[in-house]
């Protein structure tokens, strides 16, 4: 692997969801409530956040891998910046401590 490829691969963030048991879900009409046991915090989630957590099983996943899973499981609203939106939402979930973000 060239030095440049190595650097690029280490710059790609990867995300890891916690155990499913850490989360308690409650669906409301227009949003989803999520209780995160480790922090004791409750969050209100709108699409696509719940779907992102749903498709993230164990293991480290890149945003691209998560996007692929999302599109396989859901009829994703088409748009030019869908992948960018997914990256932005993953960063948001990581900032809240709902998923872990690790250097690739």
């Amino acid at each position: 692997m060239s030095d440049q490829n190595f650097r690029l691969s280490t710059m790609t963030p990867k995300y890891r969801a916690g155990p499913k048991d850490d989360l308690i879900w409650h669906e409301l009409d227009s949003m989803t409530l999520l209780f995160h046991r480790p922090s004791g915090n409750t969050h209100m989630l709108a699409d696509p956040a719940p779907a992102l957590l749903e498709v993230m099983d164990s293991g480290l996943l890149t945003a691209a891998e998560i996007a692929t899973r999302l599109k396989a499981r859901f009829d994703v609203e088409s748009g030019a910046d869908t992948d960018d939106i997914i990256s932005a939402r993953l960063e948001e979930l990581a900032a809240l401590g709902l998923i872990a973000r690790e250097a690739g």
Binding site: P38, H43, P48, D75, E77, I85, A88
Partner: protein, 138 residues
Amino acid sequence: MTDQIPSEPSANAASNQGIVTRRRALMMGAITASAVVSIKPALAQTAGSVLNCEIPVPGNNAAGGYIAADGSVVSADTPGAFPPAGRNFSGEEVRQAMNGRTLPGTSYDQSEAYVNYIRRLQAGQSGFTCYASLQMPR
């Protein structure tokens, strides 16, 4: 009818086999639109102000009561009981007291009694919210 419905390609494909499966449509929102709003528990406030909240010893409902060694509120003539603290303690001071230090301006036994009083607080009593917020995992 040859027009396809653009939003349901999966349904059209599956319907050719006599079954109809639909993946749930997923709205993506805008790139700058947050999809998560965190509900801040009222009793946790912010990281800074939690430690500045106050706990009176004893609370308003037991004003003037003395504090026994086990933290119960007793009459002033009870042997070994300590007088009211005369000041409120901050969440930070109580947190430190629970980690081995004494509450400011108190002797060791007095601090123990006050901390035991605080540990007995129930919802609805003054200082309970502040005390409970010290227990919140971070």
